[in-house]
């Protein structure tokens, strides 16, 4: 197929504009992800690393650590330490439970102390977007305005390169990023125990609510623990995104967000 026009649409090119898939009159969950296991979809956990041997996580298809030297240069190297605090393992376990056959990757940007976490976060996200992962789970945020503009650019780049960023929202009245950007899928918590229950929020900036209360999460050392927070609601939505992309790999982030909207419990009734 010829490349589609990038900036304008001449009359003779109109016939080339097709969306590659017949959309049903009513988008249902069965159409959206029925039968999908997330196979063929790469999900990146941008967090504290992932304990790959954990029974709830299984095999990782890649793990890198992002670090910063004294000259503020950020570098990416193979991660040999796994998870330093457990947060990333918990997120990975949730994605794995929803999308058992997705390909999981870990990019470690947390755990080496609080200082310098902004540049490392940016460097890690840039690397993840360059790799072209289908979904990036970000159960974290920064409040530093100096990073907001760069994060915004990266979020838009990801959006146009078909990398879906799924980011935890804040439930406190603070300005933080990247969840506030409209090019990402932002997630808050609901209290329902069903992992596939999610809601669209008609009062943004938080766009979706995923399961975030009393979640059984993978804990360091192979065990589990019960925990609550938007950090765990986010990988629920990331997992559902992986299921949808497993069945409809051609979807752009815009289309994916539409499918999420149409299949949300308060919109399509969870059908």
């Amino acid at each position: 197929m010829e490349d589609l026009p990038a900036w304008s649409l001449p009359a003779e090119a109109a016939k080339q504009i097709s969306i590659g898939e017949e959309w049903p009159e009513r988008v249902t969950r069965d159409w959206a992800w029925g039968g999908s296991t997330g196979k063929g979809v790469s999900v990146c956990i941008l967090d504290s690393g992932v304990e790959s041997s954990h029974p709830l996580v299984g095999e990782l298809d890649g793990a890198v650590a992002v670090s910063r030297d004294e000259d503020d240069e950020v570098s990416v190297s193979e991660d040999t330490e796994g998870d330093l605090c457990g947060h990333g393992t918990a997120c990975a376990g949730i994605v794995r439970a929803l999308a058992p056959e997705c390909s999981l990757h870990s990019v470690r940007v947390l755990g080496a102390g609080f200082k310098g976490s902004g540049p490392v976060l940016l460097g890690g996200l840039r690397w993840a977007v360059d790799q072209g992962f289908d979904v990036v789970n970000m159960s974290l945020s920064t409040t530093k305005r100096q990073f907001a503009e760069l994060l915004h650019e990266l979020a838009d780049t990801a959006y146009f390169k078909r990398t879906v960023l799924v980011a935890s929202a804040h439930n406190m009245p603070v300005e933080s990023y990247p969840w506030r950007f409209s090019s990402v899928i932002s997630v808050g918590s609901h209290e329902d125990p069903d992992p596939q229950t999610f809601f669209y929020n008609p009062s943004p900036p938080v766009e979706f609510f995923g399961r975030g209360v009393g979640v059984e999460i993978a804990w360091l050392g192979g065990g589990t623990i019960r925990s609550s927070g938007n950090s765990f609601a986010t990988p629920h939505i990331a997992g559902i995104c992986a299921l949808i992309l497993g069945k409809h790999p051609e979807l752009t982030p815009f289309q994916l967000k539409n499918v999420l909207y149409l299949t949300a419990n308060n919109v399509g009734g969870g059908r």
């Binding site: 755990g111 609080f114 200082k115 159960s139 406190m172 938007n230």
Partner: protein, 209 residues
Amino acid sequence: MSDLRAAVAAGALGSEESYRELLQAIVECARAIFGAKASSIFLHDEATDELVFEAVAGEGAGDLIGVRFPSSSGVAGWVLVTRQPLVIEELEEDPRFAREVAESTGYVPKGLMAVPLLHDEEALGVLEVLDRPQQAAFSLKEMELLGLFANEAAIALDLLQRARKARAVLADEGGDANALARLAQLLSDAAPERREAAERLLAAVEKLL
């Protein structure tokens, strides 16, 4: 001049004491409202990249103020770096975690709620509430309430840090505060007309700044 500096320093020192009391009142209140066994506020010490106990109510009160641990460790560390509130239950079932915490606090909680203290664009520290009653299932209402306490604690922590900085500046003999103290002294010694003119000038400077 030294009297004035002493007076300003006393003001800064006095306010530090008040802000510490405010932090203590916040953890006492959080502990009471949640019916919890303990509540603590940690300050992130930027210079050493550590978390420091600033206020403790309930278990551990009295022994823990000033105790430090690395900012990347434990649940408080997660919360600080991710800037996301977290609630964890059944903690005592993890022996590794229990040992780590027991070493730093002398007390192993069964469960905890932790929330980052965010003020403006800074993450100043973490507020924790340990061991709510077991029968009370956690709900998002608690998270919201915790967020309200966090907001209050973040403001108090910001004021405390400002007071400490002010004291450090005053303690520094070569600091700019000396110039301001000299100016204040000259102003108080000046004749009424001169003082009035100087005050108008200072008002203009204040407006400019």
